[in-house]
C-alpha cells in the first residue's frame, strides 16, 4: 500500500503532482521496493505500474549498478545521508539500458524515524549518447589532427634534410671547381693564353653564382619553416642599416638613400631585415646603369600594421611582366642589366606573407620601380600569438 503523507489533502495533491510530472517519480520503501510509481517512470522503463509496484528496485537496475543500488539504499534507509544525486542505469523492458539521473531523498515520519524514499528519475540516455558521440568525434578529430601533424612534421623533416643536403652536397663540389680553377690560373701563368685565362675566370664566376643561388634557395626554404620571434621592429632603422651594408658592398657606387624615420611594425626582425636586404639589393642592381643609386623608403602605419614603399630610379620594368616578378627564377632583365638570381623578390614576398601581408610592384621601363610592402603586426607570444609557420601566400 502507498504510504500516507501528512493528511489526505496533501496526499491527493502529491499524487496529482506525481501523475502529471514530466519526469519519472517513485516512492520506494526502506527495503527497496516500489510503493508508488508515476506514468512517466512507467514510460521510461517500458513497464506498467503492475510490473513495478511491490517489486525490488534491484530487479530493474542494470546488473553492473547493483552494488551501487544496495549501498545507496542502505545509506538512505539508515539515515546516514539525507539524499543522493547520482547517475544510474536501469533496464528497459525491451532490454535496452536506460541511463538516469537519479535524485532520491529520505522522508521521515513525525518522530523523525526514516519512513520511505522519494525518487526522481530523469532519462539522460539520449543526452549521454550524444555526449559519447561528440566525445568519439572529438577523439577521432584529435587522432586525425595528430596524424596530420605527424605527417606535416615528417614533411618538414624531409624538407630540412633536403635543404641540408643541398647546402652540403652541392656546395662541396663548387669549392673543388673554384679551388682548382684558381690553382690552374695561378700555376699555368703564361702557359695559357689570355682567352684560356678568361675562360677560367668564367668558370669561377659561374661557381660563385651557383654558390649564391644555393644560399638563396636555402634562405627561401628557411623562411617557410622559421619560427617567428615577434617584437616591435623599427623598419626605418633596419632600412638605414641595410642601406649602409649595401654602400659597404659597393663603395664605388654613389648612393643617395632617404629613409623616413619612425616606421614601426610588430614583426620578426631577422626576417624583416632579409626583406629589406632583398628590396635594396634589387634597387642597387637595377640602378647599375645610373650615375647614382637613388632610393627612398617611406610609409605610414594603418590600424593593424605598416605600409611602406621602397622606390628607386633604376631601369624599371614593363608592368606587363609584373606578375612574374615574385615567381622564383623569373627574371625580367638579362644579366648584363644587373639581374640577380631570380629568387630575391620571392624571398621578400614570402617574408611579407609570413607577416600576413604582401608586396606589389609598380614601374615603368626606364623610370624606376616602386615596391609597396604591406605588413600586419604579429601577435606577441603569450598574447595568443601566431608563432607557427603559416602556409598562406599573399597575393602580389
Amino acid at each position: 500500500m502507498p504510504p500516507h503523507l501528512v493528511d489526505d489533502q496533501d496526499d491527493a495533491r502529491f499524487r496529482l503532482a506525481m501523475a502529471s510530472a514530466g519526469i519519472g517519480m517513485a516512492i520506494v520503501s526502506l527495503e527497496g521496493r516500489f510503493l508508488d510509481v508515476n506514468p512517466a517512470l512507467c514510460r521510461m522503463l517500458g513497464r506498467d505500474s503492475g510490473e513495478l509496484l511491490g517489486h525490488l528496485v534491484h530487479d530493474i537496475s542494470h546488473p553492473d549498478d547493483l552494488p551501487l543500488t544496495e549501498r545507496l539504499r542502505q545509506q538512505l534507509a539508515s539515515g546516514e545521508i539525507p539524499s543522493v544525486d547520482v547517475e544510474k542505469r536501469y533496464t528497459h523492458r525491451d532490454g535496452h539500458v536506460v541511463e538516469v539521473q537519479l535524485n532520491a531523498a529520505l522522508m521521515r515520519d513525525a518522530d523523525g524515524a526514516p519512513q520511505y524514499v522519494i525518487s526522481q528519475f530523469r532519462d539522460v540516455t539520449a543526452q549521454r549518447a550524444a555526449e559519447r558521440a561528440l566525445q568519439a568525434a572529438n577523439d577521432h578529430l584529435e587522432q586525425r589532427v595528430q596524424e596530420r601533424t605527424a605527417e606535416l612534421e615528417a614533411a618538414h623533416r624531409r624538407l630540412e634534410a633536403f635543404a641540408y643536403g643541398v647546402s652540403h652536397d652541392l656546395r662541396a663540389p663548387l669549392r673543388t671547381i673554384d679551388g682548382f680553377a684558381a690553382q690552374l690560373a695561378r700555376q699555368a701563368g703564361e702557359a695559357l693564353d689570355a682567352q684560356a685565362h678568361e675562360q677560367l675566370a668564367r668558370i669561377r664566376m659561374a661557381s660563385a653564382r651557383m654558390g649564391t643561388l644555393i644560399d638563396s634557395l636555402l634562405e627561401l626554404a628557411r623562411i617557410g619553416r622559421a619560427v617567428l620571434k615577434p617584437a616591435p621592429v623599427d623598419v626605418s632603422l633596419l632600412a638605414e642599416w641595410v642601406a649602409a651594408e649595401m654602400q659597404d658592398l659597393h663603395p664605388a657606387r654613389p648612393a643617395l638613400v632617404h629613409v623616413q624615420p619612425g616606421l614601426e611594425v610588430v614583426g620578426d626582425e631577422r626576417l624583416l631585415k632579409g626583406l629589406l636586404t632583398q628590396l635594396l639589393r634589387n634597387a642597387w642592381q637595377f640602378s647599375a646603369s645610373r650615375e647614382r643609386v637613388d632610393v627612398e623608403v617611406e610609409g605610414a602605419r594603418n590600424g593593424h600594421g605598416l605600409q611602406f614603399v621602397v622606390r628607386d630610379r633604376g631601369i624599371g620594368f614593363d608592368m606587363a611582366y609584373a606578375g612574374k616578378l615574385f615567381e622564383p627564377f623569373q627574371r625580367l632583365h638579362g644579366s648584363e642589366q644587373g639581374s640577380g638570381d631570380g629568387i630575391g623578390l620571392t624571398i621578400a614576398q614570402q617574408i611579407a606573407a609570413r607577416h600576413h601581408g604582401g608586396i606589389r610592384a609598380e614601374a615603368r621601363p626606364d623610370a624606376g620601380a616602386s615596391f609597396h610592402v604591406e605588413l600586419r603586426d604579429l601577435q606577441v607570444p603569450g598574447d595568443n600569438g601566431d608563432t607557427h609557420a603559416t602556409p598562406e601566400v599573399a597575393s602580389a
Partner: protein, 147 residues
Amino acid sequence: MNHKTILLVEDNPDDVELTRIAFAEAGSEHQLTVVSDGAEAVDYLLGRGRYADRNTADLPTLVLLDLNLPKLDGREVLQAIRAETATRSLPVVVLTTSAEPFDVDEVYALGANSYIQKPVEFERFVEVVRQIGLYWLALNQPPTTKP
C-alpha cells in the same frame, strides 16, 4: 712533436688537397696530418686501433673537424674526445660546409671551440685558413694540461 701539428679530419680528397694548398699559400709551416673518417680521428687522438703505437702525449695543436664524415660523424668525434681526459681540452675548430643554425648550436654544445663555414671561393678559403693559423696557432694560448 717538436713543431706544431694540425690534425685535419676530412673525407673529401679535393678538400684535403685544397686545404693543403691553402695552408701553403697562407704561409703556414705547420705539419698537416690528415685522417679521412671519424673513427680514424678518434683512434689517432686516443692511440687506439692502428694508432695503438702512437705516442698519445703528442697531441696536435689543433683539430680541424668536418661534420659529415664516414663511420663516426663530426659530432660523434667531438663526443668521444670530450669524454676522455687526455683530449678534453684539445682545441677543436669545426670547419664545414653547413651553416645550419641547428648544426652550429649542437656542435658548440658538444664542446667545439669554434665553428667556421668553408667558403666556396678559393681566395676566401685561403683567408679563412690564414686566420685560423694566425689565431689558433700563433695567438691562442693552448691548454697546458697533459695526460
